[in-house]
């Protein structure tokens, strides 16, 4: 009996477990998933919690329920991977040997990486919305906030879902407008990037969007520390931005278990071959989702596109076939823009997000890099798609490789 071991039963780990459970012969392969937490959260929903659009209890399901019956689920924290001995050691010291290992341990926020961020005021005037607790605390705070200067600060790149901070700003603009207090709130973005987003065309389009909504931007801000006495952000070059309410996207890092295993980079992300998704320099180890160091967005949609390739790669590997499938860095994200509208972007390693129609060239129904109500419904529909199609690892009605048809080259 050979052993397929999957670390992390989040978006990527769950998809892989479902795909492999259907494909691997039960007489040859055992499949195990290890995760430290019983609850599976739909993380894209966190964005809507501060604005009372979703409640946290609408976003959580039992993890086990999304894993196929033949898969053994171990609820335990992972201590480390010993790739030399081909085993994984759990928190209680138990060791699991594997023949093939998939690392899907994701990324999490690390506010302790920025001086002063976690000190006094965390959860009272300084919040995050990347964790269930953070998003709920922020929702409670906003209900009675009288207004002032709202600063959204991105500490460091890369972050999960790089458009989420912009969506937060768009939704904040709509939320305060609907409550009749937009004039009492100054909304400001502080980012280490040179503009609103990472790639030139979308950065320009999204930048114009921010401007139209009266949201100001401080670009190129390398956050050094938070000064809690004066409620201000201080950059490495000593420039400053004051806040009344700080919404922080702290440094995102891979799991500490990756560091303990000695296989991560400076942010505990695992160096991964960008085409084959195998862990660089490790035998029989693959990496998927937010845990990789790939120059692709850390997004559920990317985990989905990667899963199609990784599945092929693993089957090629097991069956000793010649390699064929290759990952192209495909990402595709709905961007909530407020007032019941949304945008959509579609891109990969080489091609930046461009305007156009998706998935049918010239037809849509979704509009690329432009605002429409249907894009907003696409985003809301994504929650249903996530639980019912995406996690199950079934075919989605989207091509796996990014297509240029329907895109306008600008």
């Amino acid at each position: 009996m050979r052993h397929m071991l999957i670390l992390g039963g989040g978006t990527a780990g769950t998809i892989m477990a479902n795909k492999l459970a259907r494909a691997l012969d039960e007489r040859d392969w055992r499949i195990t998933v290890v995760d430290g937490k019983e609850e599976h959260y739909y993380q894209p929903g966190f964005l809507f919690v501060p604005f009372d659009i979703y409640r946290m209890r609408d976003l959580v399901r039992p993890r086990r329920q999304y894993l196929p019956g033949r898969v053994r689920f171990i609820l335990s924290s992972i201590d480390h991977i010993d790739a030399g001995k081909k085993k994984v050691v759990l928190a209680n010291g138990e060791a699991l040997r594997y023949d093939c290992l998939i690392i899907g341990t994701g990324a999490d926020i690390h506010p302790e990486q920025t001086e002063g961020l976690l000190d006094e005021g965390w959860g009272r005037s300084k919040f995050d919305f990347y964790t269930p607790l953070g998003a709920e605390r922020l929702a409670r705070f906003l209900k009675t906030w009288q207004g002032g200067r709202l600063v959204l600060s991105i500490a460091e790149m890369p972050i999960k879902c790089p458009v989420a901070p912009l969506e937060f700003l768009f939704l904040a603009d709509a939320y305060f407008t609907e409550r009749g207090m937009r004039d009492k709130v100054d909304i400001h973005l502080v980012t280490p990037l040179s503009g609103a987003f990472t790639k030139p065309t979308s950065s320009r389009v999204l930048g114009e969007f921010l401007e139209r909504k009266g949201i100001s931007v401080t670009p190129d801000f390398g956050l050094a520390r938070v000064d809690n006495d004066e409620k201000k952000l201080v950059a490495w070059d000593d420039s400053e931005v004051k806040y009344d309410l700080l919404v922080s996207i702290p440094t995102n890092m891979g799991d500490p278990a990756i560091a303990r295993s000695g296989i991560g980079n400076e942010l505990n992300f695992v160096p991964t071959n960008r085409q084959t998704l195998s862990a660089e320099g490790l035998e029989d180890v693959f990496v998927i989702g937010d845990a990789t160091n790939l120059p692709a967005s850390k997004a559920g949609s990317v985990a989905h596109f990667e899963s199609e390739i990784l599945f092929e790669k693993i089957m090629e590997h097991i069956e000793g076939r010649a390699p064929r499938a290759q990952f192209d860095g495909h990402a595709n994200c709905f961007i909530e823009s407020g007032y019941g509208k949304g945008m959509l972007i579609d891109f990969n390693y080489e091609t930046e997000p461009l305007p156009g129609a998706f998935p049918l060239p010239g037809v849509g129904p979704f509009k690329l890099l432009g605002e429409s109500a249907i894009n907003h419904y696409g985003k809301l529909m994504f929650r249903w798609v996530y639980w019912n199609l995406l996690l199950r690892g079934v075919e989605l009605p989207i091509a796996n490789e990014m297509l240029m048809a329907g895109k306008q080259v600008v």
């Binding site: 460091e156 790149m157 890369p158 790089p162 280490p192 990037l193 040179s194 990472t198 790639k199 030139p200 190129d220 390398g222 050094a224 950059a235 490495w236 070059d237 980079n265 400076e266 942010l267 160091n293 120059p295 692709a296 967005s297 930046e352």
Partner: protein
Amino acid sequence: MQTAILGGKTLALDADGNLADRKEWNEEVAREIAATEGIAELTPQHWAVINFMRSVFEKEGDSPSIRRLTKESGVDTKTLYQLFPKGPAKKAARIAGLPKPKGCI
């Protein structure tokens, strides 16, 4: 395609405004790009960072993040921001003739 006259030659730039072909790079080109970035003189400390970036890129196909620069180049973050104001990783990559670091996606 954007171009720039650097080291007496017309060189192609990529969408981010960095050198399209890093083989066209030399120290004179670096000094001229630095000047357009407001860095009048490249000191030995600048060169240490630039050379570190080039060696990482040579090996790994991407330039290092600020966090990695701090950890491995021997120059602390505060000094990096003094040497390459605004965005040390982005700016040093441009001066080193490399594409913008992909890490910031």
